[in-house]
């Protein structure tokens, strides 16, 4: 059963996301000129994604040790610019292997 609260959450997030995409396409006809705003928008994706990954990634699996192993693998493969799918699968595999090993230690 879907709650009223969930539907409001859905409406809130969908409308904020849509407005951000829609307003410039429909309203804005000129390029942004403000240097601070341009720079801020230049940095914000990396800032957001970084802080979303660390420290949350360490709590993404059943143990901090296996999550750390998965993250380490992801960092190495990302550094060598492997594809998103390769990095994700390898990170999962590392977590899986470490958790299996931990079970039998």
């Amino acid at each position: 059963m879907i709650s009223m609260r969930f539907l409001i959450c859905l409406a809130v997030m969908a409308s904020v996301t849509y407005l951000l995409r829609m307003l410039p396409i429909v309203v804005l006809r000129q390029k942004i000129k403000n240097r601070f705003l341009l720079s801020f928008l230049h940095y914000i994706p990396v800032a957001v994604l970084s802080v979303m990954v660390v420290p949350a990634v360490f709590y993404a699996s059943d143990s901090i040790v296996s999550a750390a192993a998965g993250f380490a693998v992801a960092l190495v493969l990302s550094f060598f610019e492997k594809s998103l799918i390769q990095v994700a699968c390898a990170a999962c595999a590392a977590v899986f292997v470490v958790e299996i090993i931990m079970k039998y230690l």
Partner: protein, 240 residues
């Protein structure tokens, strides 16, 4: 000259994105149900939002009973990059495109669709954009469904392992950008240090997680925007 098969070409160009999205949204589906969401809730979020990072941030907020303000602000900050991408995309859209067509195309301006759309040499017609959005949208929706269903029946050790998939993907998006630029690396470092302060320091850790991400990211991006502003002629690169 108007392309005859604009829609078909869009579908074809969207196929690689579709395949990538299927796997990313599969991980999102697993993540959502492991946080306590139902399959239908996870799929509804994917259908109405079509965005990875924002959805990932929203799940813990919704499941932990966070406020609507926290939810709205998290989406505002995390997805603010779309303002810039849409501003850039608007310059490439055909001038014949009606307002209604623009309203529809806006919905599908994701990071990857934006990147492929901008790689075209010609002005973008509505029919092409519809095709380019449709295939990734289907991949995103059905990947979420598959992941959410699988998340309920897979053994816990597999679900635990899949939990890091989405973080692995985000790492793969961010690290190459950090590698290329010292100021990007500094920006990420500041954001992470602040994020850890919010996570581990007494008093600060009482703040809901969504706000911690927003505040950390805004401070880090603002500091770098002042310390290392972009060169104005590099507007095109800034949206990568």
């Amino acid at each position: 000259m108007r392309q005859k098969n604009g829609f078909k070409k869009g579908i074809t160009d969207g196929l690689p994105i579709c395949i990538g999205y299927f796997s990313v949204s599969f991980a999102f589906g697993v993540f959502a149900v492991s946080n306590g969401m139902s399959v239908i809730e996870a799929v509804l979020i994917s259908i109405t939002n079509l965005t990875s990072a924002g959805q990932l941030a929203a799940v813990p907020i919704i499941c932990a009973g966070g406020s609507f303000i926290e939810l709205a602000l998290s989406q505002l900050v995390i997805n603010s990059r779309y303002l810039f991408m849409s501003a850039s995309l608007s310059q490439k859209l055909s001038s014949q495109m009606s307002v209604v067509q623009r309203l529809i195309v806006s919905f599908g301006n994701t990071d990857e669709i934006f990147a492929v759309a901008l790689s075209n040499d010609t002005q973008l017609e509505a029919r092409y954009m519809y095709g380019l959005i449709l295939t990734p949208f289907l991949g995103w929706t059905f990947g979420t469904l598959a992941g959410a269903v699988a998340g309920n029946i897979l053994p816990s050790v597999i679900v635990s392992a899949l939990g890091v998939a989405i973080y692995g993907m985000l790492t793969a998006v961010v690290l190459p950008q950090i590698k290329k630029s010292k100021s990007m690396a500094l920006c990420a470092f500041i954001a992470i240090v602040l994020g850890c302060c919010f996570e581990y320091l007494p008093f600060l850790s009482s703040l809901p997680g969504g706000f911690a991400v927003i505040i950390s990211a805004v401070i880090a991006a603002a500091v770098l925007a002042v310390a290392a502003p972009v060169k104005m002629q590099e507007e095109e690169n800034a949206c990568d």
